[in-house]
Amino acid sequence: MALAYLCLTTIFNFIIVFYFILIILFLILFRKKLDKEIIFRLKNIFIGFTFVLSLYFLYIYNQNLFDIWFVYQKLPFIFNNALENYSAFDFIIKYANFVFLYPYKNFILEPQWSLYSMFIISNFILIGLNIKNLYKKNEIKINSELLFINIYIFSLNFYGQVLGLEKLATTMSLGAISLSILIIKIKSKDTKIIINFVILFISFYSLLFTFDLKDSKISGMRYVHLKELINKDQKIKNDNFKYFSVQKWNKKKWDLLNNITKTQSKINRNCNIEFGANLTVDNFFHSLIKYKKLQVIPFFFKHTGSILRDYIEPKLITNIQNEINKNNIFIITSEGNDKLLNLENYDHPLLFELDNKKIIKEYIKIYFPKNCYR
């Protein structure tokens, strides 16, 4: 659990706090009824978690990173305030809508959500059943064992409520375990068959007819990444890039990456530039910049990006401008981000067309000091 926390700290802050609060609450309520082995296991979980976290915080403290670490933990609130400004109640309503209404209203086009809704509801029902059985002192060991797993899955709702296919698939899909337990508990064979048929029907219907989730607002990257398979025969490998040697991309993409690399090589022959900056949303460009980087955030969002920058690196534009004034920085930009800078003393930028299907052509611009690119 501690490792899951360290992989996704900003989100698991909510999950872990909620999980431990619920566990403490249940331990207080059912202390006398719970099996000693279960209490022992919960103690182990707590010790293991505290131990790993202590090492982590020792590192944070030792490197004097606590202040900046704390800013990162506020990111979910910062994003919420800037983009949606939901209150806790709004979040509950939005999630309740996703669980109880949205999947069934949009069943024809987006049947996937109805299964996730079933997983979430099953987990909730199983928590209720386990609590009831604990009160009645039925099957105490099994119920308490299950209860603490269900509570963990329930806590994962904090991430599930962000919605998006990838998020649900890595959180609420665990609720499927609860669903299978509930189905097995059903005594009537006919009811079991009907429920299993419904689940399989939805699963295959989702796969065969609505897999791409083209019009869904919460399908994550499903449609975009499926589109990458169109014309896959025209996609090729390129051994010039050790980072991307396994990838098969179309020629235009490779040409763009080639141009970025070649431009830098050419500039290096004539000038001694120290820094590089990527003012586009493509982080591959950031990886390909051979110079020292001023940026902490490797990408640059035109509209909402300033929200992040104000907290993480408020002086970024000033720092880049200082280096421009010293003819000491190589810049890749797009979407008119160059307008944020005064590039009067720089050479005319090189323009490379971006490979997208938009009607109006888009370009990336590469800026460098005068007389560097001959």
Binding site: L3, L6, C7, I149, I184, H225, S287
Partner: protein
């Protein structure tokens, strides 16, 4: 009654891994993939987490990714391949957890099938796939009846 062999539960996780490796070679996602890749590269370049690297999610995923880049010559594909491996192991573990709780092989296979049909394989090397694997490992470890594992902690408590 239909009987399933022990290895049947491995079929879908293996299919998930193969499908993921095949599909992901065609994906160009400069924002999502590039973000994860460049963070790990910057860590290998000696930059300080949080202060000089934008760790929007967590530090462990960057450590794992950096390790993968060291082993696989900084190749981007190693990150998505490992993500697919994590997801396929998670599918297998969900099957195991279901079997532990239901003692029914058909249901554990059936459940993995449903999850596979809903989300066959990852297409972004996102840290939530790592945390998903760790969550599954946590649950399976919690359900483990093997007391030997806890001997040291038992000694501390009693």
């Amino acid at each position: 009654m239909m009987r399933l062999k022990n290895y049947t539960i491995l079929l879908l996780p293996i299919l998930s891994l193969i499908g993921g490796l095949w599909h992901n070679q065609f994906i160009y996602d400069g924002y999502h993939w590039g973000f994860i890749h460049t963070n790990a590269l910057e860590f290998l370049n000696g930059k300080t987490p949080y202060k000089e690297i934008f760790l929007e999610y967590g530090i462990l995923s960057v450590l794992i990714n950096s390790l993968l880049l060291i082993v696989f010559n900084k190749n981007l594909f190693s990150l998505i391949a490992f993500t697919c491996l994590c997801y396929s192991i998670s599918l297998y573990l969900i099957g195991k957890i279901t079997f532990k709780l239901t003692k029914n092989k058909i249901y554990s296979f059936y459940l993995v099938l449903v999850l596979f049909l809903l989300y066959p394989w990852p297409t972004t090397p996102w840290p939530n796939f790592y945390s998903f694997l760790f969550s599954c490992l946590f649950i399976i470890n919690y359900l483990s009846k093997n007391k030997k594992k806890h001997i040291l902690l038992e000694y501390i408590w009693h």
